[in-house]
């Protein structure tokens, strides 16, 4: 029997699931980002620390994300638009899910590619039409997957990945958001 390897340590995840079943307090994570205005609609957001498993945790290194708006928005385009970061989050979360589920189901992946399109009517954010929402009207993700599996098994991978995706859930279900001035 050949062992499949998608580079996901599924055993560690399954072990964590068992441990956390009996320790819900350790499962409470807080993810954090700190943002700073640069100029115009340009800002930078840094991420390094988070809380989880009952204590402060840290990424190996700090990551800085630059956000701006494109020139068609009369901006300088120093970086991608904030709403595009949602596409980054969704694509990377679903892709991680596909790899993990494939590992767990013994499916060797050769390539996993996806395109994500979010349709956005910008009349909402411009206040041009109060019937138009600010956010995406809809999002479409298209996966192209090369793997040792049937089409049906690949579809099941992608379906299961959505079912267990944090970002898919955050985008498809409402979340309470509190914004305060310190």
């Amino acid at each position: 029997m050949t062992t499949i390897d998608n580079g996901v340590n599924v055993q560690a995840l399954l072990d964590a699931r068992e441990v956390l079943k009996g320790a819900p307090e350790a499962a409470q994570f807080t993810w954090r980002a700190s943002s700073r205005w640069q100029n115009g609609v340009h800002s930078t957001t840094t991420i390094q620390n988070f809380f989880g498993l009952g204590q402060e945790q840290s990424h190996k290194s700090e990551t800085v994300f630059t956000a701006d708006h494109p020139e068609v928005f009369a901006a300088e385009d120093n970086g991608i638009t904030p709403i595009e970061y949602l596409l980054v989050g969704l694509a990377s979360c679903l892709t991680a899910g596909v790899a993990s589920v494939a590992q767990n189901r013994g499916i060797q992946l050769r390539s996993v590619e996806s395109t994500v399109e979010g349709n956005h009517d910008i009349r909402g954010i411009l206040g041009a039409d109060s019937d138009v929402r600010n956010g995406f009207n809809d999002i479409k993700v298209t996966f192209t997957i090369d793997a040792d599996a049937s089409q049906q098994d690949i579809e099941a991978l992608v379906a299961q990945s959505q079912k267990r995706s944090a970002v898919f859930d955050a985008l498809t279900n409402p979340t309470n958001v509190t914004v305060e001035v310190a």
Partner: protein, 405 residues
């Protein structure tokens, strides 16, 4: 024995077989939930020929039909009479406590001491309703399946049915036929055709051995025990009642109801994926049936394999509805049921109130359960599924009594 439904009576049958002195306590009458906790039009999901209890089976003229509630009550009553079960009706159990040599049972008609107790009080004692139901505006009438008898008792106007299990799809169809606008909120669900290759889909579940799969063979037992009931209805026409049927009838489908905010119901935008999951799982199950038919040389006895159209995804499903607008006059919560163990004065349930047991054997010696989802097999909660479970659980109980004697 606590409960004189099909489970308690089946266990009583085996206790009598083994000459174990016992009594069956029933809060109401025999088959009480079937009498008082079901809507008027409900029929069994299983065909008549599958309605069998130890030594007792359907012998009427319509083996492929589905029993009405009146027929189910009669069927179970007849079983109670034939098996001469020692039932004490109108006896509500309010507490069960452990003692040095067994259990102390408090009932509405006095105290009982016994060496063993079997809980057969049902899996569907209380309808489950999500917490955000409290935030629904008071102008909207809210019902659970326990409050629902039929469409005539509802106000005119739109109905939001929440949940797409057997209950949800059946009530959505019935309410739509009554002329009301119906919206169905759909989360994860189990899609099944009524007939597959010319046979009842539950014939396949039975014949192929899927239903006999034991609790210790199921991959993810916790998940199997939480599975919603399949989208099935028992009708004389033996028709399929899936989401495509409902959509064709004009029922509007929306995603899983996630929250109420400012009087608005907010639904998940993940509808497409719950359709995919259910379509994929159905296909996998039908593949299993086909493989079984091939391996057992049954291909000639049944129609050729068939595949069903995927669940049609609406052009754009609404993700919010203003509950104050008057569009929705009634909400029907078809969001599941759970057993009630509040009268068990022992630490035998988990933090979510679920009974802790291994194939019906509870951690407290001499305490047993029957009739819960996938108790010992996938068929555990179906009427014909009780015989094997009851026999094995009563075998265990009999051994327990022998050891302690």
């Amino acid at each position: 024995m606590i409960g004189a439904g099909h489970a308690g009576l089946a266990a009583s049958h085996f206790l009598r077989d083994r000459s174990v002195d016992h009594v069956v306590l029933e809060r109401g009458e025999v088959a009480n939930s079937w009498r008082h906790e079901r809507w008027d039009s409900l029929r069994l999901l299983t065909p008549n020929w599958q309605s069998r209890l130890p030594g007792h089976r359907y012998e009427g003229p319509d083996p492929d039909g589905y029993m009405t509630m009146g027929e189910v009550i009669e069927f179970i009553e007849r079983f109670a009479t034939v098996s001469r079960a020692p039932v004490r009706t109108g006896t509500n159990v309010t507490s069960v406590r452990r003692t040095d040599d067994g259990y102390h049972v408090t009932t509405s008609h006095g105290e009982i001491r016994c060496r063993a107790v079997v809980i057969a009080s049902g899996a569907c004692n209380r309808p489950t309703v999500p917490q955000f139901a409290d935030a629904v505006p008071a102008s909207v009438v809210q019902l659970t399946p326990f409050d629902y008898a039929g469409p005539t008792h509802l106000p005119d106007g739109g109905v939001l049915v929440v949940g797409a299990s057997a209950t949800g799809v059946q009530l959505a169809a019935e309410l739509k036929r009554s002329g009301r606008p119906v919206i169905l909120s759909v989360g994860e669900h189990v899609r099944l055709p009524r007939l597959y290759r010319g046979r009842d889909v539950l014939w396949w579940m039975d014949a192929s051995g899927v239903w006999d799969q034991r609790h210790d063979e199921v991959d993810d037992l916790a998940r199997a025990r939480r599975l919603p009931s399949p989208q099935l209805v028992g009708t004389p026409e033996r028709r399929t009642l899936d989401l495509n049927t409902l959509a064709a009838m004009g029922v509007e489908l929306v995603g899983r109801w996630a929250a109420v905010r400012d009087g608005r119901a907010l639904f998940s935008g993940g509808l497409r994926n719950v359709f995919s999951l259910a379509d994929l799982k159905m296909r996998r199950l039908l593949d299993t049936f086909d493989e079984w038919a091939r391996a057992h040389g049954c291909d000639a006895e049944v129609d050729p394999p068939e595949r069903f159209a995927p669940t049609h995804v609406p052009e754009s499903a609404r993700w919010q509805i203003d509950l104050r607008s008057g569009e929705i006059r009634t909400i029907v919560w078809a969001t599941g049921f759970r057993p009630d163990f509040r009268w068990l004065d022992m630490p035998v349930v988990d933090e979510k109130g679920r009974l802790l047991h291994e194939g019906g054997v509870v951690g407290s010696p001499g305490l047993y359960a029957l009739g819960l989802p996938v108790l010992r097999r996938r068929k555990s909660t179906f009427i014909h599924g009780i015989e094997d479970d009851a026999r094995e659980v009563i075998d265990h109980l009999t051994r327990h009594l022998a050891v302690r004697r």
